[in-house]
């Protein structure tokens, strides 16, 4: 069972409110759009793509993704020799589940001289998307330079979890949380969402729901977390999930941290009910 003992808890960090985070992000994006419109500089376009992807991670609006796709295609057309445009295209194609297109874009980025560290991260994402968790894990472990430590560790943890190495996964994710050193909730939201998604993938909707709940506490309008939580609820028929969905919004309050113990991150978690690998 999930360990809820207080002494096992690892505190999740306090992060900037969703309101401030998204408001500031929109202001930055506005500046970038003007800059790109004036100069057509590729680096500005790439930054818009990354900013919009961050926005999309919360909003999940299809229109946002279509906008990102259109911009990415325009960037590739504008600067086909620039590996960054192909890497952006690979990321967006992967989000659209067009994995063959994503793989092809990655090959072109590599041929155009993209940094191996950055290519490796996207390749690992693609491998995970097709269930090649072991190959993805090997890349993520070997690729130490591409991401901040917390995000790298959380991706390793998700691979380990998918492979059934639960204790290693929990230890890695706990380390990821402990090393999280940002005020923004956006990377943390993605880490927690992917952690929940992986629990759901291996059949443990209880722990998945707790992770999704944590996402919503940081990012109350995180559409995919709400959807996933609702699906967990419908699948289980357990009203407990509905209570979780209705939980209060997260406030930045140092006395009210979310306990990682509640996320099933102690070292005494049970093996999953379903082990697909």
């Amino acid at each position: 069972m999930t360990d809820l003992r207080p002494e096992s808890a690892v505190r999740l960090p306090l992060c900037t409110s969703e309101t401030i985070t998204l408001s500031n992000l929109d202001l930055q994006l506005n500046n970038l759009r003007h800059w790109y419109a004036q100069t057509r500089r590729v680096d500005a376009g790439i930054q818009i793509v990354h900013g919009l992807l961050s926005r999309y991670s919360v909003s999940a609006r299809d229109a946002d993704l279509r906008h990102i796709e259109a911009l990415t295609c325009a960037l590739v057309e504008q600067a086909p020799e620039d590996p960054r445009t192909w890497m952006a295209l690979a990321e967006v194609s992967a989000m659209r589940h067009r994995l063959a297109d994503a793989g092809q874009a990655l090959l072109t980025a590599t041929a155009n001289g993209a940094p191996p560290v950055e290519i490796a991260e996207i390749r690992a994402d693609l491998l995970e998307a097709v269930g090649e968790h072991r190959a993805a894990l090997e890349i993520r472990i070997a690729n130490s330079g591409g991401l901040p430590p917390a995000q790298r560790l959380s991706r390793i943890a998700c691979c380990q979890l998918a492979l059934g190495a639960h204790h290693d996964a929990v230890a890695a994710f706990t380390s990821a949380i402990r090393t999280y050193a940002d005020a923004s909730p956006l990377p943390l939201g993605s880490m927690l969402f992917n952690w929940g998604h992986t629990w759901e993938h291996i059949g443990d909707r209880g722990r998945a729901a707790l992770a999704y709940h944590a996402v919503i506490m940081y990012l109350p309008s995180h559409v995919r977390a709400h959807r996933a939580l609702a699906e967990c609820s419908m699948a289980s028929g357990d009203p407990h999930y509905r209570r979780i969905v209705g939980a209060t919004r997260h406030q930045a309050n140092p006395d009210d941290p979310i306990s990682l113990g509640q996320l099933g991150l102690s070292s005494t978690v049970d093996p999953p009910r379903v082990s697909p690998i």
Binding site: R11, P13, L14, C15, T16, S17, T19, I20, S23, N24, L25, L27, Q28, L29, N30, N31, L32, H34, W35, Q38, D43, A44, Q47, I48, H50, G51, L52, L53, S54, R55, S57, P148, A181, D182, A183, S184, L186, P187, G189, S190, Q251, A252, P254, P257
Partner: protein, 376 residues
């Protein structure tokens, strides 16, 4: 660019990105001091402080060591913590709290939220960025190993905004009646809650972006970006084993000294550059008993290192041309002919009256987005 965009972590989140720190006696008001800390480079109207970050000012009495370097007396430091609530959707403003020991001062962002009192006055909100420099030519100088400044230069910060926190305080009330004259200040952004993470720290301008930058000179760490590691160090307790920073400073300072072909800072092999320890103790230094001076930056440090008397209060005033002074000192020594970057003042200089910085530019120029936006 001063301390703007000065580490990988700061690049990801402008709310933690300290840009500049200033420390000066209030003009024409004896016994009153002002500290200004700016964050959020290229802030647009509507930009907000984080509600999960503590914007911290650490002041401490200072002493001069046997090596003539001024250091903070950490045990006697006074800490000012400034925090903000979430954005009020109705007004677009934020409630703020200044905590100094047991004393709490509540305020709000913007002109309407500023508070004024004999003990402490606080303003927080969008203001014109008072910093100015020709960034492109400075970068070119380091890249080409030759002084690339022109006259006139191009101010890369012209018309831009920052989020500013301005505090005026009664020195006797906050720092003590029988205090020693010389105090230092450093700023930090730290996470709220426990354990706390220090996101950024800032003392003097350009320590991270220029003096600690990767310039290909450092034989110990040729490519490692030291800036986020540097941010983790306690500015008032410099790690005696901080050889990575000393090595980088020694190497870069030697490079700067060679820019004009003349040697201003000789030092024997195996020793440190004469300025390394001063830069490593990275804080502003102010004589709190002296009157306001428009040119005080590095004056107390110079006096301590040379054995001469200071001529000013030290500290740093908002309109000081710190880039000219920095390059003049590290290339030509304390008394050499000055080096100028061709940008002599901000588009709209600061005023000698609280809150000092001009109101924010409602239509800042579209900024060169050297900043990665968002991340997940």
């Amino acid at each position: 660019m001063s301390d703007h965009l000065s580490s990988p972590r700061a690049l990801r989140d402008p709310t933690i990105d300290l840009t500049d720190l200033y420390f000066f006696p209030v003009p024409d008001v004896p016994g009153r001091l002002a500290v200004v800390v700016n964050v959020f480079p290229l802030a647009q109207p509507g930009a907000a402080f984080s509600d999960a970050v503590s914007y911290r000012l650490r002041l401490a009495p200072a002493e001069t060591g046997a090596d003539r370097v001024i250091r903070a007396r950490r045990a006697d430091q006074v800490t000012l913590d400034i925090t903000f609530d979430d954005l009020d959707p109705a007004t677009g403003s934020q409630a703020g709290l200044l905590r100094c020991g047991d004393t709490l001062t509540r305020f709000g962002t913007g002109d309407a939220g500023a508070v004024y009192s004999d003990q402490v006055s606080v303003f927080a909100g969008l203001r014109r960025d008072p910093f100015f420099m020709d960034v492109r030519r400075e970068v070119e100088t380091r890249a080409t190993r030759r002084i690339a400044f022109t006259d006139p230069g191009t101010d890369a910060v012209a018309g831009q905004n920052v989020l500013s926190i301005v505090i005026e305080l009664d020195a006797a009330h906050v720092l003590g009646v029988d205090r020693q004259p010389v105090w230092v200040v450093a700023a930090e952004t730290v996470s709220q809650g426990a354990p706390s993470t220090r996101f950024e720290r800032l003392g003097r301008p350009e320590v991270k972006n220029v003096l600690l930058s990767v310039n290909g000179n450092d034989t110990v760490n040729k490519t490692v970006d030291l800036r986020d590691l540097y941010n983790l160090e306690d500015v008032f307790a410099v790690n005696p084993a901080a050889e990575a920073y000393r090595s980088r400073l020694d190497a870069n300072l030697a490079m700067f000294d060679e820019l004009d072909g003349a040697l201003a800072w000789p030092f024997p092999a195996g020793n440190h550059h004469p300025l390394t320890e001063m830069w490593l103790n990275d804080h502003l230094v102010l004589d709190t008993t002296k009157p306001f001076s428009e040119r005080g930056y590095l004056d107390l440090e110079r006096a301590a290192l040379t054995g001469q008397s200071p001529t000013t209060c030290g500290g740093r005033w908002l309109n000081e041309d710190v880039i000219d002074l920095l390059y003049s000192v590290i290339v030509r020594g304390w008394d050499g002919p000055p080096i100028k970057d061709g940008v002599e003042h901000a588009t709209i200089p600061a005023l000698p009256k609280f809150p000092y910085l001009p109101a924010g530019n409602p239509n800042p120029p579209i900024a060169d987005p050297a900043v990665p936006v968002g991340h997940d």
